[in-house]
Symmetry: D2
Subunit: 362 residues, 4 copies
């Protein structure tokens, strides 16, 4: 990963800012002959789209994706397929409403990238955070939709498993619930609780953190590579690029620190279709290489710093001052991180699938 590109064989380069004309990405290295239409991508984009409930930002964006290159109608079948050349994707910004930026133009919002962008580049795009805005994540979700098609037998799903101190009851995990509540929450009861809980947060002008879990099933054993292309290393790096993420863990994760060797190591037996693990503390990765078990990654999302309360800060001239966010307000930015986490998982897996095939030649 470097600057605005990630992946080696399946490679994604993104561009665009919150309040520019458009955002987009180039997906390079995609295998040819994969059926691909805009509709295939739009579904995932719609899941990430803002303004779909009162619990996420009220910005209205259609997030309509256009495929600019890299596909054509198959000369025999007429089905639109990838050609093996770079896939250019474009999403126009439609709701970058012109508003008064005089307040934040010269003040650094605490907990935001304002101060650091300015420290690095000497200037920053104060309109909606510019490049540091979560708006960029739409382009990865689009790329992730393509990655999924590279791996038709792999199923990547994400879920919100914690808001603030409130964790879901894992015994009540039901993937079908995810689509039925605005939180991507697999625990029906906890979803109901979150509705009330987040309303309180929202009304008080506050915000709260969350934990997301992404699971990939159907990943063959053998993906990933020692030492600096470990699958879990690439996954950790990828998740950590998502806005507001402060921690990543795989399998037992931080909990593994509290386990003994006999508790933690997953024992093996031979089952009907190959090796079977009796548990999955490893989260599907041993020595940086997939085991064939589900890959399980969790990441923590901090609460947004844009809250409706005055905060101490400094301005560009160095004077002490205060700042208070106005307008759109996102009580739990973690919610919309679910499809983004899925996309990053899918992209990393597609990349490793191609790299493994290249080296080992399955």
């Amino acid at each position: 990963m470097s600057f605005n590109t990630f992946g080696h064989m399946f490679r994604v380069t993104t561009f665009g800012e919150s309040h520019g004309v458009a955002i987009g990405c180039v997906v390079d290295g995609c295998p040819p002959m994969i059926p691909l239409t805009e509709a295939d991508i739009q579904g995932d984009l719609d899941r990430r789209r803002p303004g779909q409930s009162r619990f996420t930002t009220q910005r209205q964006e259609l997030d309509q994706v256009k495929i600019l290159s890299g596909v054509m109608a198959h000369p025999e079948t007429g089905v639109q397929v990838t050609t093996g050349t770079p896939i250019g994707l474009l999403i126009e910004n439609t709701d970058q409403r012109s508003k008064d930026y005089s307040e934040i133009k010269d003040k650094f919002r605490p907990g935001h990238a304002d101060f650091t962008y300015e420290a690095k580049y000497g200037l920053r795009d104060y309109r909606g955070g510019g490049r540091s805005s979560a708006r960029e994540t739409a382009t990865r979700v689009a790329a992730g939709a393509i990655a999924r098609k590279v791996l038709p037998d792999v199923r990547v799903r994400g879920a919100l498993v914690q808001i603030g101190p409130h964790k879901i009851d894992r015994g009540k995990w039901d993937w079908d619930e995810i689509a039925k509540n605005p939180f991507f929450c697999p625990d029906k009861d906890k979803a109901a609780f979150f509705e009330t809980y987040l309303d309180g947060i929202r009304k008080s002008g506050s915000s709260i953190g969350a934990v997301i879990e992404v699971v990939a099933e159907g990943v063959p054993a053998g993906l990933g590579a020692p030492i600096y292309a470990k699958l879990d290393s690439d996954l950790a790096g990828a998740m950590m690029t998502i806005n507001a993420v402060k921690g990543v863990e795989i399998g037992a994760g931080f909990g593994a620190a509290e386990l003994t060797g006999e508790e933690n190591a997953d024992e093996m037996r031979t089952g009907n279709d190959g090796t079977r693990f009796l548990s999955n503390h490893a989260g599907g990765v041993l020595g940086g290489i997939s085991t064939g078990q589900p890959i399980v990654v969790r990441f923590a999302v901090k609460p947004t710093s844009s809250i409706l309360q005055p905060r101490l800060t400094v301005d560009r001239a160095g004077a002490d001052t205060e700042i208070m966010t106005k307008g759109r307000h996102d009580p739990c930015v973690g919610i919309r991180a679910v499809p983004v986490g899925e996309a990053m998982m899918a992209c990393v897996l597609a990349d490793h699938f191609l790299r493994d095939r290249g080296q080992v030649g399955r």
Copy 2:
């Protein structure tokens, strides 16, 4: 990061297995004119070296590093300095004792990379884990010692902050204690407790996990870059390449999920020498770019799976069987991860320092 190389401008490529002739690395992109001798590197290697207490593996390795290239005596001063060309480093293996591998040659040790290497490559080096052995980390520690010299004003220190469920008392944090106990533990009292606790683990033939914290002070604001070269993303990926690491977090980390926006966002005031943050929940990174505050990273290390107790597994032929580790035994592999974590932090920071200088031209 890719295969056995990490970094872009300050780039490290490692090679070697646990039981081969030698391990080593190539450090590429290092600036010229930096004073560098083998002694500069040996100090860090000695801190990682096995066999220094009963709490780590009893393998005896001198870990004597040789610089093969990339340095010369300065023509005027005579001081040995880097030349800007690749620095080749070699460490011979001296204690790869020939032992009976018949047991593990055909059985997969649970929790180890045995099964996955075999699944990927069709064979695996069963002698000491081959490439998956923590022995490889010696080469990164050597590279890290060079990285430190690229950043003379930055101080990178690591500490063990938890073993099993037992966390240190952060109020008793004393960096000077680190060198005084075999655990790199900054809490004197907890170090005394760990001595007894780990003896129990060791005698029972078990093992236990740990949490390590690495702190970098003196890092200037502005290192890191959106979006896929975020400093915290590179740090997370780097830490996750260390053997047995299952989770990484920065600043408040997973704890941030439980905080509100007003608790989490670090407020700012103007101090005597520039902007001052009133807290450091961010762990020194906002929007993927350093703030100038200390960079704080923690990672969880799972317990080693090599324990003196029989475990269910399968053999290469697919038959159910049991396995029990014999010989050298490492009750808490997390301990020796401390200097490795420091090295990875130093390498990532050196890389970002050069990348930032390249783009922005400080």
Copy 3:
């Protein structure tokens, strides 16, 4: 360089096909605070634009570039500058006229990429050559215009120095002539000759090759790096990516094979402002690093294979057949390669300037 991206610190990723909706690129790693408008880019694009004389393809494209991201008005001066984030550029295709492709859809045009794309990907975009079309070079010319602004003291200029067997008289070299004839030819008399000569080629339905020379003045000594980032290696690789290029040389080039050591090695004297070379057989690069002299690169462009004469070929089904190009016809594709060669030179130099600054810290 890899797939559709080149450069390390100054990095360009392109996408788009001849007959798609649009082509474009992402320029990543550009330093911040560089004044940049669409007009700065349009000038170079206009020099490459097709349809400007009867000696190049009659395709009509305005090649109007849009900057989608990576710039903003400076908060104090109001001047539009780069922000350090990725610059997205878009050029819409306007003259991808719908024509009858039934002839070339199933036959491989000799000398074109038809056969190899099909061999690799299983299908190819037969509409105008798809990704293999020279249309893609517009995006690099756009990127090159930005690269020039990264290096304000460097002047990159290209010239056509040979068509078919006819070389210019180097004694008559006048840079001012370049803009005065449709060939970018610095020799006024030869330009007049080429007009008649190429008319003959064109009317006979044939085509002819050419040699282009690109010169960069003002490049400081010290750019480039051993061994696999040699400046001349990157230049050779970059020029060889241009459509139809079959050879690249630097300085004395292939002529150096015929020289003796005393003829070839450029002697040095001390001049008023530093070291002065008495000749430039090296073409401005020694040991892969710039000397401070002008960088001189030449490349050979083959004649286009699209000629108005029947040629033996095979079809997709493997049957022997013939093919003859109809419609637009480009008697000397080398002509329009001049601004493309300049762009590649500028991009490589900008990349090496940033890489050198990163490592050595000027």
Copy 4:
């Protein structure tokens, strides 16, 4: 390619200087299960080894390679095979004779990298040219020997086709002659001529350039990728990293500039085993992708600048002076470039083979 690494999937990183302890490289990404011993590598090294005739440098080096990692005895067959992990290779320097460097320590040798290394890094290794010495090429030849084993059906051979103005008679090309004369010359008669000719050059203390041709047969159609991973672009860049190379061409090369479209485009017919080309002006590459025909690359090597005649130069203090090389003298450095060119061809092809397999999945 970047700094001291080249290749993406099959990746080579080299280190070491002319007069250091040792030189070496790391070959990363090599597929597993490939039989590999030191003897497999030694053969190619022996062909490049200096001191084998009076026409190359008299330095005596055994160039004995040691494999430090990445191989093991196959558990069933006992045959030593690659494991898929990085292969560390080491070659000790044995004849870095201590001599008097006072002359060249402070003077820049014209035509050498002395001036540019000093301009870049502030110092240079004056002992034998340090990193800029052709000694480094031994490590690539070693890597190339491994690359050949990745491509067992591909045959890569090189030949010297020109010394000074004297070209071989291509009608007399006999590959079997290559091993029978000290020039790798496929034309027996011209080889006899070169013996006398080069003796004259040598005795006069002069030197002369050469042209090398490398041919790869058996390369499947489909290797290479648009646009910035074109096979010919990677080959050009690779050859241009070889010491003293000033030009690279593929197929008809610079000659293509003088051809018409009907002369240049290779016509196709269907033969017994697929498509057959009636000529190979393309040199086996169309649109950056291999055609299945032999890949033909030529490169020009300048005469060494180390000649036994006084030359004008400056010293480090900036004063005008003269310099004359003493001691070992190499009348035609192009000769030993033949196995180096083969190695670079083999490495580039191996890399593209793995990249193609990764993306397209043959």
